[in-house]
Symmetry: C2
Subunit: 234 residues, 2 copies
């Protein structure tokens, strides 16, 4: 059965980069349909014509024989679909059911457990840097710190400790000692967390080494070039 026509609906400065990396690593042919954020850094209305939530990435898959089109949203689901339908030689997935389960677990884990506390820390960092006048800025910082203590900073540590343990147990990768779809999907939030200082690389040597290893893949460099050409800065 021939591979379908694959299109990535791409919004700059979004987590869509990971999907390019996945498809490039699997040497799949695809087209990028680029969208630009508006002045308020929001996704443009055109994306809502593709999927009612108007978010990126969206994966469009069109059957070459029937012409039937399918639009897929949610990065975890898109990754699962691509690995299931297009990774026939199990380059980034596994034929072993237990290993496949571990990879699929991370496709849910990244948004279900890792992303939420990082998102709160990100929002609170924006509150602290929002340039409000004194004394409001001082109080806003106090409120933000209280929220962080109660809801997110401890949880970020929990999640990083967990991932550090899993990578250490699996010879430098998340699952089974080799690169899988889980590593590609998990790369972004962990990179961002280090960059935004929500966690310190020196506290997590296994994660730091893992990020260096996986981002030295040729496919990472190739998709980074494509993303840059579309206006994303790295």
């Amino acid at each position: 059965m021939s591979l379908p026509i694959i299109k990535v609906h791409w919004l700059d400065h979004s987590r869509a980069f990971r999907l390019l990396w996945l498809l490039d690593h699997l040497n799949l042919e695809y087209e990028i349909v680029p969208y630009k954020r508006d002045a308020n850094f929001r996704a443009p209305p055109e994306l809502k014509k593709i999927h009612p939530l108007g978010r990126s990435p969206l994966l469009e898959v069109q059957d070459r024989e029937t012409g039937k089109k399918k639009i897929l949203a949610e990065s975890g689901f898109i990754f699962q679909y691509v690995l299931q339908h297009f990774d026939h030689s199990h380059v980034l997935m596994s034929e072993d059911a237990d290993i496949a389960d571990q990879i699929n677990y991370y496709l849910f884990y990244v948004e279900g457990s890792l992303q939420p506390p990082l998102m709160i820390e990100f929002i609170l960092s924006k509150v602290k840097d929002s340039g409000m006048p004194f004394p409001i800025s001082y109080l806003a910082r106090k409120v933000a710190d209280k929220i962080s203590q109660a809801y997110s900073s401890g949880e970020v540590k929990n999640q990083f400790d967990f991932v550090e343990g899993e990578i250490s147990k699996n010879n430098g990768y998340l699952v089974d000692g080799k690169l899988s779809g889980a590593d590609i999907l998990m790369s972004f939030p962990l990179q961002m967390a280090f960059e935004r200082k929500f966690a310190a690389p020196e506290d997590y040597p296994a994660i730091s080494k893992w990020l260096k290893t996986i981002t030295s893949e040729e496919s990472y460099a190739a998709s980074k070039e494509k993303a840059r050409a579309l206006g994303s800065n790295f």
Copy 2:
């Protein structure tokens, strides 16, 4: 092949209820291993012995012949695993690939898109009700409102509008006009949002009716009784 021994590691006041409902609706035999939150409303350390993140629900599956045990975490992944391995007559899943994809999409969507803005609104509501003295309480409320406007209230509306549209298009259910695993998993965040007034039922008639319909299932009542017996209040 005989069904394995199934255990639900259950923490009171958690989203674990949905898993009981799923298993009950599929008439699966399972055991509940209950855990109580500590004085700070945190999960007890015993849960960390089952899975390093120490969260609930956890599903324990043990092969009756080999005795081999598997611990599954992340509600979306647990639902997908149960539907794939134990719902052989497709009571809450579908043999049709497109319909199965739609159900699987929601298993990712609920944590990837719906839960995050609701979580922010929940945290901000706690900040507003935190009983800080005036004028700090006044300023904290101002900060919380700004965060809500910038990051969550609009997004809650986006998600509710989307779900309202999907239920309206699918004869009162999320997918294919009948009850599926997607409805059970999606029930909790939407119920909570109405209860906490992050969205008004009268603005979303299709979601309101859908909640009444699915919670009138016998399996809902049965698992609610079990949860109550374990100390959960509804």
